[in-house]
Amino acid sequence: EPITLRALMEDVPETQIIEKLLPEFTKETGIKVEFEKIGYGDMHDKLVAQLVSPESYYNVLEVDFLWAGEFPAAGWLEDLKPYVEKSGFDLKPIIPSMLDLLGATKESLPILPMYNYSMGLIYRTDLLSDPKIKADFKAKTGKDLAPPATLADYVALSKYFKASGGDLVGAAMQGQRGDPNAMEFSNYLFSSGGAYLDAGRKVVLNSPEGLTALKLYADNIQNGAQQGALSATLDDTMRLMCAGKTFSMVTYWWMLPQLDNAEKCPSVAGKLALSVMPGGHGESGGWGWGIPKNTSDESKAAAWKFIEWVQSKKISVARALEGHAPVRSDVYTDEAVLKKYPFYKTALDVVASGKSFPIFAYSAQYEDVLGTQLSLAGGGQAKPEDALKAAADGLTQLMNK
């Protein structure tokens, strides 16, 4: 009776890429793999139901970094360290920030990174090189029009574009409460030098840097971003960018090929560039693989076999050629990959420089706590100082829970 691996997967291209390669794995090992694809928002609830039950239906897990605190804390995940050691899997090529992000320590490895979704800035090169705009910008600000170097520059530029009228705005911002605005703000925070936690995991969010970041964030929401930014999600910002109605957006770096696509987005194709978040650090994120504790030993072994296979260099390169966002540095530098996607060079910078949202048991809830304050500040319902304090207090509270 051959084992069937079942995984609940987010329905995104990454999953589809792997799905296409699955027959190869089955051929190699005789293990069948079934992916059940649903939306991100529904995954957590559904997984939790399985993980708290005596035996999980899913025997391979796709784990978001936001759950990387919760799942191990709840004791749902098998430690992968013994598996790594037994099979001699080489962890070295894996980008360290990705391992950190997913809760790896010296003692244990709950989750093995799967793919990356760090954030960077995507912006319109054509606007920056437009002579008329250049002249106008110079006239108004006395500075030369150039890609922004700091967050303040970026926000100023964004506001400039919005103020110039027309239906072009400076930034497409995903301001919906919760994951969207928490992620976006994290970029502002990191790029202005702030942090959620210090090295000793003490909450340092409520700092001058934090306040600068929040003020700039609110300023951009109000004066640089599109109308309705407070309810916007990734989808809205993408469509806005695609429609050529915004100068820039802060987003996952691998969105670039989807936007820079003559078929899908004729108005902006060929006019886009990716950069690390102005200021040098953006939010990093990623998915990983885990093995649930409440499954049989055989299936655990089979699951590891699959994880090992899918994260091997060979398969990672094959995935990358289809658009995968790798977690191995050796894939970013792979020639075939770079040839197809020159911007992977910048991407590696984005990934490597990325900093992480605080990872602990209540990360997901913290997104919501933070998101609420951001939303209030962005909508002018709360003063940035108060909102920041509340957000920091909320973090302290949740960390102490």
Binding site: D11, E36, S53, L234, K264
Partner: protein, 265 residues
Amino acid sequence: MRRIALHFGLLLTCAAILIPLLWVIRTSFLPEPMSYSPEIMPAFTLDNYVALFTSTRYGQSYLNSLIVAIGSVVVALPFACMTGYAFARFKTSGKGGRFAVLAIQMLPPVAIVLPAFTLFRMVGLTNSLTGLIIVYAALNLPFLIWILMGFFEGIPVDLEWAAQTDGATAWQAFWRIVLPVSLPGIAAAGVLGFILTWNEFLFALVLSGPQTATVPVALASLQTSNGVQIAKVSAGVVLAVLPLVIASRFIQRFIVQGLTFGSVK
């Protein structure tokens, strides 16, 4: 004059419903990137429909939804009729019982979905259509019971008396007299049960597996972190609406046409 005003009012409300819907239908025939185009019909494609059935399991989900929705109505409606009748006619379990039954429906689904999952897991009914049918039958029962109770209360007790002296058992009186006379209510309750099941999301999400996912789950999965595939959603919605549109041709006979049975005297 009154007739014209009447039709005007109805057309207005129909328009309020149809105009957004027409936009959805239109979107369902557009390639995804054009879905937000301001033009009325910039292109035409069947890709979304094709993709629903080829690249996702929408077809399977559709079938599941039909089976589960019809199944749960078939299971729940007779029970609801009987219990509703007992409540209306015999005041069984009194006011307390009535409200207790209704209270079951008042708990937000989030509170019971995990306990329900635990139970169904224990009896091995997760990932199965039977399990879904059972859970929906039970979930919908309180509403159906109450609705039917409202209709049964309106039936003159004389009729049942006549039936009883004619030698009908309580059951026969119920089956042959009460039910036919309250067909509008039963039809409405049936539709309601179908629709509640057809649309339910959370239980379907948690209790179903890949083979047993229902339409709402399938549609929700089109909302990805890569963006919402709104054209496919539109296509899915258009298809999801079809059974009711077809069924309403038959149901409306009971519900709006009325049965004009007239009085018993």
